[in-house]
């Protein structure tokens, strides 16, 4: 009972990374493929990438997390080790209905990583705990 879409997604990210490393450009056909595989969240994720909305937070204790500034300005905290996003779209489309691989925030994280345009920020441990537990002020 093997699923193939994750492998397709992973390959696309790898290609984007290489294309961007070689020419700081993503060719049109990769964009089209992104749209095909990820559907409607592709365009919104690209917009988030254009706005450089993804930050990687790291703390002295070694913990890391991604923060994405959504379209409304709200911050979503996503994790490195698994796919999770607190946004309602993830809960509904990915978890509940299994109709999407990712939400636009996680997709934006992957794209920013592939293009190496993730902002970096280091925060104190206390703030990191707050961010990770979801109680912190975003």
């Amino acid at each position: 009972m093997r699923s193939f879409l994750p492998a397709v997604a992973e390959q696309l990210f790898r290609d984007i990374q290489r294309a961007y490393q070689e020419s700081t450009q993503i060719p049109d056909d990769l964009l089209i493929a992104l749209k095909f595989v990820f559907g409607s969240c592709a365009l919104q994720a690209l917009d988030l990438v254009d706005q450089r909305s993804v930050t990687c937070l790291s703390s002295p204790s070694g913990r890391q997390a991604f923060q994405v500034i959504g379209g409304s300005g709200r911050l979503y905290t996503c994790f490195l080790s698994c796919h999770y996003c607190p946004c309602p779209a993830f809960a509904y489309t990915v978890l509940r209905r299994n109709q999407g691989l990712l939400c636009k925030h996680i997709l934006a994280v992957y794209l920013c990583q592939a293009m190496a345009v993730t902002q970096q920020e280091s925060i104190p441990d206390q703030q990191m705990s707050a961010v990770l537990s979801g109680t912190g002020a975003p």
């Binding site: 093997r2 699923s3 193939f4 879409l5 492998a7 397709v8 992973e10 390959q11 696309l12 990210f13 790898r14 290609d15 990374q17 290489r18 294309a19 961007y20 020419s23 060719p27 049109d28 056909d29 990769l30 964009l31 089209i32 493929a33 749209k35 559907g39 409607s40 969240c41 592709a42 365009l43 919104q44 690209l46 917009d47 990438v49 254009d50 706005q51 890391q64 991604f66 500034i69 379209g71 409304s72 300005g73 709200r74 911050l75 490195l80 698994c82 796919h83 309602p88 779209a89 809960a91 509904y92 489309t93 990915v94 299994n98 109709q99 999407g100 994280v109 992957y110 990583q113 993730t118």
Partner: protein, 790 residues
Amino acid sequence: MLTTDKDDLPVIETDSDPDQSEEDADDDSGQQISDCGSDSADENTDICPPSSEHMKELEISGYVSDGDDIGGTLTSSKLDSEVFPLQTSEGTKRSVRDWLRSAQAMLQTPQKPFDRQSKTPEDSSKKKRKFKRGGLAERLNRLQCRQRSAISFWRHKSICDTSAATTAAVDRPGVLVLEVLEVHEECNMQLAHCEHRQPPGDGHQHRIAVSEETTRMLALFNRETAAQMMPKPRDVIRIYPPWQSLSIEGFSCPVILNTHFSQKVSSASKPDGSSLPKTWLSAERRGPYFLAQIFGLLDQNKAKGESSAKQVAALDVLSGFRTRHCLSLLEAIEGLGQAGFVDQDVDVVVQRVYSIPMAECSPVSFLKHRASLRSSPAPPPAEKGKTRLCALVQDGFGMFSVLQLQPLSSSDELHQYCQTWQGRTCVLRGIKVVQRVTRERHSRLFGLIDSLWPPATSLKDHGNSLSMLNESRAAGPPPSFCYLLSGQQSSVELAEGQTVSPLYRHPANQTLRDVLQSETKSGRCSFIATVLYKRMPSTDVGQREVWLVLTDSSLQEEQPERPCRPTVALCVSTSCVLTSSVLEALNSPAACDMSFTDAIREHGVLLCAEQSVIKVLSVQPGSSVETTARQDSLSQVKTLPQPPRLDSLSVETTPNSLCTLTGVIVGVDENTAYSWPACNLCGSDNLEVSAEKPQNFHCVSCKSMLDKPDTKVQLEVFLSSSSLSNCTLKVKLQQRTIMSILNTPTLESPELQGYDVESVLGKAVGPIAVYVRVVTRKPALWMGLEEICL
């Protein structure tokens, strides 16, 4: 009232695109709520329409700005400017509470330190998201709009002429005809495992896209294409361009994307009268994927030291869906970070197979060698050194590597490996990276790589596993670096399928004339030639180079327009391994045909060094040397003119060549002139004076008594030739010539007479065939020659 309570209701994000086309039917039909969290433009639409409902706006703005809302900030700031005029004109209409709330909202909402496009009220009427100019989203939006109109146009066209559609345009290039084997659903897309069916008469065009081994494909259909087409097993579908093909590492089937222009040609089952899209549900739905299965990339922020550990951990996680099978040598190797074992299997094409001599450096063998020298002066065996099997491989991306494998027990095994592996696709397993070599330090290896460039077919592109149809990409410059890998016997495994890989560049044989007259003065060349003369070192063959004089029919035929010398010298250096059959052929006096693969042409000189392979093709009949069967070998020895045409000796003659010479004896080297007896029967020089009869001799080799042994003579003379003036030519003559000069058919008396130098001076010699041993030009031209017998 805007129902955008983000906390309570399940708010679903919609596509912020203006035209909700069929593609966006991905979204559940149940939603009609626009997520105000996603789109401040929408908020603007909803919140500040250019209407006079300021009261409502105030309430809403107050509500919205409870959260951290940039849009709210903007909105509220705009509203503020509208509020005050309101106040002045209708101050009593608004409650102080409302005013306070909006003021509080402005004060509360934090300013975000990044700049975002300010949304003017005019934009809200367009209901369109303004993307960053020149950004990716804007580009995708443009592409998407174009694609959507193309899709709707195509759909419309295909509906209109459905009757003609079955036969039309199949022979148009780029149409994929697939037969569905199995369909399952994953995340709102239908994945169809298909078998590629070659459309009739189109096999040649699909050669590059689909090879014999990979007719399986995985086609992805998005929801609305699948709903329209309803693929089921045994259906035949046609996918029209532009479609995309993605090759995933570790996955043998290509994945077909962008399949919007698809059409079902024939259906396995009878169409229902009701034609309801019930079959959508019949596709097996795969469960959701494991969320901890990340798609790489996320751990790249860590420091280098940690990243290798993380990589190992990530590999464990990902090993579920990624078999450790790789198409790229570069990726497999550079994933290591240091020289070590490559844990991935890599698919490569074997371009060349050869062997290299292994240096004898172990102390044990050194002692053995010394011992043997002391005991008897027996000549060491011909193949003293061991040889190691090597292969030059290339992956699908064009990257080369030299693979050093196990030592060969006999050098003849090389030809077996060559036959089995060369040109085939193999899987490399358990190999270790030894070194990364660059062009500057290994110019000969890269000369070989250059001869294999540009590749025979189009290469894969690292940055772009997607290949649009009919895309031809220039191969670019040849690689400037290459890896040295080491492995064992089991490291190379032939992939299934007996066909020769399309990437293989067969060593094309040229004629010697083409080689000598070619424009490129250095590089690799392959040819078949007849060996006219061999100059073997008297001591161990493996330690000193061998000189050969070659010719072929192209050199032997005279072409007055482009004259070329009729023979050419080739040096076999010690780094070129000679198999036992080659050594045997070289040791026998008969002429033979040999094939030289990847010989080096350097500064106009031919030589065989590392990576060159020599094979014996055929010898003159009567010899006992084995031959290697080749389908295109006609024995050139028989077709060459007998005796072969040679250049006459001239001022430009280079050493190690063959020439003809005619001259007059002007001097004799008396120091080297002598004669000795030899056995009549076996020709051996090892004679002893017989004990019983001091007059007779006894041959030690064949143990016979000789009454009248043969006499062998050695004589070196100085010749003067009319074609060469001011040149000293010293020629070591052969027995027959010497006899004719001395005017005696045989030397009959057992005691040897002395001869007068004057008796030979002035005698004409030649034309004889000579081997030019040495040429010195200073202080004057002096040539040391040796008469040979062809």
